[in-house]
């Protein structure tokens, strides 16, 4: 009897405490008004995102840690993340094996020039498809989508023959000229992005400019292209990264000279130990592993730096472009 009374009393107190104004405020802070603005929700959000971020970063960390290990650390299974002794040997070997300054220049020239050209040509084509009168517009748009779908493997041999007839093989023009004609890397996708962007612009702008007597060319370069700055940035960055990373095409077209970094990485094994020539490709070789990881790190370093500088504008640019409508 007595204990029951006591329980009721305590229960009443607890209820009072729970419904008091303070408690409500505390609850508001912890749980929030809607799902996303409570402390608890934020905590869960951070934890989940951090776990995934760790999974994302793990291969990168692996790359760096392996690049700094010497051979005995690599062979020792007890050494997992932090090498016993940091060695810069791999890095210098990779620098030499890749012929880094030379290859870096090649890759940079190739990706920057091709991307710039591609931005301009794709913007023009996209503008024509979005706003200008073009015969068979539907068919042409379908063909643009087709160019995006066709895998390079299907057409690589005919292209090789065409390029060798034109005398473009093993020069940067093998990528620059297709880009000039709107057939660069994933150009179909970029044309569609521009088309989408220009279609979303209000038509009154063009009408006003036309009434003022501006020609189409002037209208495009004076008004529409500057308007499309964010789309241009997005396309340029994507294009830059994809040109930087491309592997299949240059392995065919630039095998002998003007070799970019990605191809040099492939040939690194042969450079490091010429005695094993041939069958060293897909084998895990602990002796060269560190050097390879160092080389891989050196390859992705420049785009990371570029991206770090442009990241803010990039993400907001994608949101503003309305790429996906």
């Amino acid at each position: 009897m007595n204990t029951a009374l006591w329980f009721r009393k305590v229960g009443g107190r607890l209820r009072d405490l729970l419904w008091s104004r303070r408690a409500q405020q505390a609850k508001m802070i912890v749980l929030g008004r809607s799902l996303s603005d409570g402390l608890l929700a934020k905590l869960i959000l951070y934890v989940l995102l951090s776990i995934v971020a760790y999974l994302y970063l793990q291969p990168l960390l692996y790359m760096i840690s392996t690049a700094l290990k010497n051979v005995s650390d690599l062979l020792d299974p007890t050494v997992k993340w932090i090498p016993r002794q940091v060695t810069w040997d791999n890095l210098s070997k990779a620098l030499k094996g890749l012929q880094y300054p030379d290859a870096l220049r090649n890759t940079a020239v190739l990706s920057i020039s091709c991307s710039l050209v591609q931005v301009l040509v794709c913007a023009m084509t996209g503008y024509a498809l979005a706003r200008l009168a073009v015969p068979f517009k539907g068919l042409l748009t379908a063909l643009v989508i087709l160019t995006f779908l066709i895998p390079p493997q299907i057409v690589i041999i005919p292209l090789y023959v065409i390029f060798s007839k034109l005398g473009l093989l093993n020069t940067p023009f093998v990528f620059l000229i297709p880009a000039l004609f709107g057939q660069g890397l994933k150009a179909g996708l970029f044309i569609l992005i521009f088309r989408q962007f220009f279609r979303a612009q209000p038509a009154s702008l063009e009408e006003a400019a036309k009434l003022d007597g501006a020609s189409v060319v002037r209208l495009f370069f004076g008004i529409m292209l500057p308007l499309a700055r964010s789309a241009c940035l997005v396309v340029f960055l994507f294009s830059f990264i994809w040109y930087w990373n491309m592997y299949y095409e240059p392995s065919m077209f630039l095998a002998k000279s003007f070799t970019p970094l990605s191809i040099r990485l492939d040939g690194l094994d042969d450079v490091l130990n010429p005695s094993l020539l041939g069958n060293t490709k897909i084998v895990k070789n602990p002796i060269t592993e560190g050097t390879k990881m160092a080389a891989a790190f050196l390859i992705i370093l420049p785009p990371i730096i570029v991206f770090m500088f442009l990241q803010r504008w990039f993400v907001s640019g994608i949101e503003r472009t309305g790429i996906v409508e």
Binding site: S36, D37, L45, L48, L49, V52, L55, Y56, L57, P59, Y62, M63, T66, V121, M124, T125, A128, L132, A133, V134, P135, L140, L146, L149, P151, Q153, I154, V155, P158, L159, V161, I162, P178, L180, F181, G182, Q183, I191, V216, V217, I241, N245, M246, Y248, S262, I263, D266, V283, A296, I299, I300, F307, Q311, F314, V315, I318, E319, T321, I323, V324
Partner: protein, 299 residues
């Protein structure tokens, strides 16, 4: 009277021509490029797939085969059909994983919290790394494992529930799941951009009507995202299609330089492969188109 009508007609035609002229001028580089670098190679490659192609000094020698290359791919080749089927199984697993993962991450990144831009940058980083060579280097070293796979001994469990042959595929996909998730950078961006098209007033309205966040996700966010989901599914399929470690592509490339098969046979293989993926893409487009239509009818 007649002449003036003719005149007007001619003038109209001239005007039309002039209008087409500027449009065509803008399109011209692309059209020339398309003929030179897409149409001719495609036609050539189709032609080669019906031939036995031999490299002789000064060019190619063609030997008409009809459909023999295509028949051989399924009847004589004991690697190609198996690899094709295995890869399609893997693809059917990988596409949903990538798209759902991207959707979840995009949802989280769309919330407002301090340090958001840092996380956003982080989740785009994979696009930079996902290069053919760096990626395959990492695969070879086994950097893509998730630790819990060995720790909890998942393999017998998977074999028990999924059974035999398919279990191998599942384990293969699970074993590289991190690197597969690396392929979701672009998809996350597309979803984030897609969320911006949903007006915040709708969320406000349903909240006043008493909907929980859970409801508003299923009733508003998800339906509004259907076009972006379909876009992402298509993008993922195309992206995986040219995945650097794709065994089918490797087989095609190997056959290219074999003496007895050569370019003709490898082009036939490539077209078969493309045909399969094209059917898959068409199917996805059709499904999403239908779901959009029924939704429109219902509303």
């Amino acid at each position: 009277m007649k002449s003036s009508a003719d005149d007007a007609k001619r003038q109209a035609r001239l005007f039309q021509l002039k209008r087409y002229g500027t449009g065509l001028a803008f399109m011209l580089p692309w059209i020339v490029g398309f003929c030179l670098f897409v149409a001719i190679p495609i036609g050539w490659s189709i032609f080669m797939s019906f031939n036995q192609v031999k490299v002789v000094p000064g060019g190619f020698k063609y030997d008409w085969q009809g459909f023999r290359n295509f028949r051989d791919a399924f009847l004589k080749d004991n690697v190609f059909p198996i690899e094709l089927i295995t890869y399609f199984q893997e693809m059917l697993l990988m596409v949903p994983i990538i798209v759902i993962f991207a959707l979840l991450i995009a949802l989280m990144l769309n919330q407002r919290f301090p340090g958001r831009f840092l996380y956003r940058a982080l989740f785009f980083l994979p696009v930079i790394f996902a290069t053919g060579q760096v990626l395959s280097e990492l695969f070879v070293q086994g950097a893509g494992d998730i630790p819990f796979l060995d720790q909890y001994n998942l393999e017998p469990l998977v074999t028990q529930y999924v059974g035999g042959e398919f279990a191998k595929t599942v384990m293969g996909v699970l074993g590289r799941v991190v690197l597969i998730l690396w392929y979701s950078g672009v998809q996350i961006l597309i979803f984030i951009a897609g969320f911006q098209t949903i007006s915040p007033t709708i969320y406000e309205a349903v909240r006043i009507d008493g909907a929980s966040p859970w409801d508003s996700f299923w009733k508003i966010t998800l339906p509004a995202c259907v076009p972006f989901i379909s876009l992402n599914v298509l993008y993922t399929i195309i992206d995986l299609f040219t995945f650097p470690l794709n065994p089918v592509l490797k087989h095609i490339k190997d056959n290219m330089f074999k003496v007895e098969t050569g370019y003709g046979y490898s082009s036939a293989l490539a077209w078969i492969y493309f045909g399969f993926v094209f059917v898959l893409i068409a199917l996805v487009l059709w499904l999403f188109d239908r779901s959009m239509k029924t939704r429109r009818v219902r509303s």
